[in-house]
Amino acid sequence: MNMTILYTVITLGAIGSSAAVILYFVAQKFKVYEDPRIDEVEQALPGANCGGCGFAGCRAFADACVKEGDLSELYCPVGGNDCMSGVAKILGLDAVKKDPRVAVLRCNGTCEFRPKVNKYDGATTCHIIHATYSGDTGCQYGCLGCGDCCKVCDFDALHMDPVTGLPVVDEDKCTACGACVRECPKDLFELRKKLPKHRKIYVACRNEDKGPVNKKACAVACIGCSKCFKVCEYDAITMGNNLAFIDSDKCKFCRKCVPVCPTNAIIETGFPPRRVKEEESTQEKPVVNA
C-alpha cells in the first residue's frame, strides 16, 4: 500500500515539476517588455473602461499616454483635470486643463408636445427605428425614445422618463464620457460646460425643418426665428439649418434669450425663479426635469 502512495507522489511530482520547467521556458520565450509607467498611469485612471477618451479602455489610454510623450491631445473626461494632472506628474509632462462637461439632451419632444402620427411596432432600439423610417412623430430629428443611450451609459446616469418618453441625465453621475453622444442616431446629445447648481441654458431642439413644418410636428420646436440670436450680446448664439445653437463656452448665462423664444425651445435650469413679469408669463414654460 505504501508503495502505491509513493508511486502517486512521484508521478504527480514529476508531472508538476516538468510542467513548471516548460512554463518557465515558455514565459521566457514570450516575455514582452512593457514600460512600467503604463501600469502606474493605469492606476491613476478611473478604471471605468468607458472609452470616453477615444481608446478601447483605460489600459489602451495609459499605453497611448506613455508612448505619445505629449498629453495635449489626450484627455480622460471621466477623471477630469485632477486625474490628468496625476498622469502628467507620473510622466513628467504637462496636462491640458478642460472645463468639466455634462451630457445634455437637445430634444424636448415629450408625448405632450410632440404627438404621435403613427405606431411603431418593431425591434425597440433607436438605431433600428432610425434605419427603418423617420420615426413615429412628425419630427424626424427628435428623440426616438427607445433608450439606446441609457443602455450604453456605464455610469447609471441616464434613465428613461416613462411620462415624457425622453431620457433624463443625472448630472451628478454623468462623467461626460460621451458614450451617449456616440450612440444616439439622431445626434441629440451634446457635452456642455458643467456649471454649479446644474445651471444650463440650451436650445432643446435639433429640428432642421422650416418653421411651419416643425411647428406642426412639435409644440416646442426651434423654428429658427433668430429672436434669441438678435438678443444675445455675447455672440454665443449661432443660426444655421433653421436652428439656433448656444455655444456653452461663450454663453454668459444672462438669460435674455430664454423669454424671447416664441416656442419655449430654449431651456434654462438651475437658476433662481425669475422675478415675475406678469405680461410675459401667460404661457407655461415647458417642464424640464433637471
Binding site: Y120, A123, T132
Partner: protein, 327 residues
C-alpha cells in the same frame, strides 16, 4: 380609419407556428407512451407524472416570480415538458418527495440557473434524473414489476440491468437469454424500467408525429440510434457470447426515449443538420461505451448530458453550407 397606421420593418407576415404550439406538439407526442405506462404500471404512473409536472411548473412559476423577478413564462409549456420527461425517466414507484427534489433540480439547477428557457446548456429533465440517480441510487433503480408480467416479485430489474449483472458474473449471453424479455415484449414495452422508456413502439409513434409536425428533424434520432446500432453490432459480430445483439440495445434502457425526446430538445442540441448528426453519433458512441465497458447498464442520460456540453462547440465549428461557397 380610427387608429394610427402601424409601421414596422419587413417582413409583415408571420408563420402561424409559435413556441407554445411546438411545445404542445411535444406534449401530444408524449401521450401514447404515458398511456402505455399507465397500462403497465397502473395509476402509480399517473401519480408520479402529475407530481413531477405540478412540481416543475410550480417551481418555475415561483422562482421566476419571486427570485428572478420576471414575468413567469409557464404558459409556454416548456416546464410542463420538463416535468413530463422527468417523470418518464424515473421508476413508477418513486416516493413523492424524491420526485419533488428531482423537479427542483431539473427546473432550478438545470434550467433557471442558466437564465430559463433557451439559455440552458443541459437538458433540464436529464439534470433532474441524473441528480436523483446519483443521490438516490436504490430508489431510482428498483423498478416496479409490469402488471401483466407473471413474475412474482415486488421489484424487477431492467433487461439491461439483468444483462449487465449476468455478464459480470461470467455468464455468456446465450445462457442469459432465457431470463430476458422476448423481442415482442421489448418492442411493445412489457418489461421493467423507468415510467416512460419502456415502450419503444409508443415512443416511435410519438416521434413520427413530431417528425410530421416538423417539431424535430430526422438527424438526431437517426444518428443516435444508427451509431448505437453500428457500435453494438460491431462488438456483437466479434463475440456474440460477450455482447448482446444490437437491436436489443436499441429497444432497452431508454434508448428510444433518449434518442427521440431527450436528445432532440431544441435548446440543447446543435442548430445545423450536420451538427446534429455529429452530436447524435457522439451520444450513440458514449452510450454504447458506458453500456459495454462502464458500470451503469443504461448510460444514455449521461451521454446526452455530455454531448449537451459540446453543443456550443459544435455550433461554433459546424456551419451550414453557405450559398455561394467559400469566401
Amino acid at each position: 380609419m380610427s387608429n394610427l397606421l402601424t409601421v414596422s420593418p419587413s417582413p409583415h407576415v408571420h408563420a402561424s407556428d409559435t413556441v407554445q404550439k411546438i411545445m404542445y406538439r411535444v406534449i401530444i407526442a408524449l401521450i401514447p407512451a404515458l398511456i402505455w405506462s399507465v397500462v403497465v404500471f397502473g395509476w402509480d404512473a399517473l401519480r408520479v407524472t402529475l407530481i413531477a409536472v405540478i412540481a416543475s411548473v410550480g417551481f418555475e412559476y415561483l422562482a421566476q416570480k419571486y427570485i428572478m423577478k420576471v414575468r413567469p413564462s409557464v404558459t409556454d409549456g416548456s416546464a410542463l415538458i420538463t416535468g413530463l420527461l422527468l417523470a418518464f425517466n424515473v421508476p413508477a414507484n418513486l416516493p413523492w418527495w424524491i420526485i419533488i427534489l428531482g423537479a427542483l433540480a431539473a427546473v432550478g439547477i438545470g434550467k433557471l440557473s442558466f437564465g430559463g428557457l433557451g439559455t440552458n446548456i443541459f437538458n433540464p429533465a436529464l439534470v433532474g434524473r441524473v441528480f436523483l440517480l446519483i443521490s438516490f441510487p436504490v430508489q431510482m433503480t428498483s423498478y416496479p414489476v409490469p402488471r401483466m408480467s407473471d413474475v412474482d416479485a415486488v421489484t424487477a430489474a431492467t433487461p439491461l440491468g439483468l444483462l449487465k449483472e449476468g455478464l459480470m458474473n461470467g455468464q455468456p449471453v446465450s445462457e442469459l437469454l432465457g431470463q430476458l424479455p422476448t423481442a415482442t415484449d421489448l418492442l411493445i414495452g412489457n418489461m421493467g424500467g423507468s415510467l416512460g422508456e419502456i415502450s419503444a413502439l409508443m415512443l416511435i409513434i410519438g416521434g413520427l408525429y413530431m417528425l410530421l409536425r416538423k417539431v424535430i428533424t430526422w438527424h438526431t434520432p437517426v444518428a443516435v440510434l444508427g451509431s448505437m446500432f453500428v457500435m453494438a453490432g460491431a462488438f456483437w459480430l466479434v463475440n456474440p457470447e460477450m455482447y448482446m445483439e444490437p437491436a436489443y440495445h436499441l429497444l432497452t434502457g431508454g434508448a428510444m426515449l433518449g434518442a427521440i425526446f431527450m436528445a432532440t430538445d431544441m435548446v440543447t442540441s446543435p442548430m445545423t443538420g450536420k451538427g446534429q448528426i455529429i452530436y447524435g453519433v457522439g451520444i450513440g458512441v458514449i452510450t454504447m461505451s458506458i453500456r459495454l465497458f462502464g458500470a451503469y447498464p443504461e448510460g444514455i442520460s449521461f451521454a446526452i448530458l455530455i454531448m449537451n456540453a459540446f453543443t456550443p462547440l459544435i455550433n461554433n465549428t459546424v456551419k451550414p453550407k453557405r450559398f455561394g461557397g467559400k469566401k
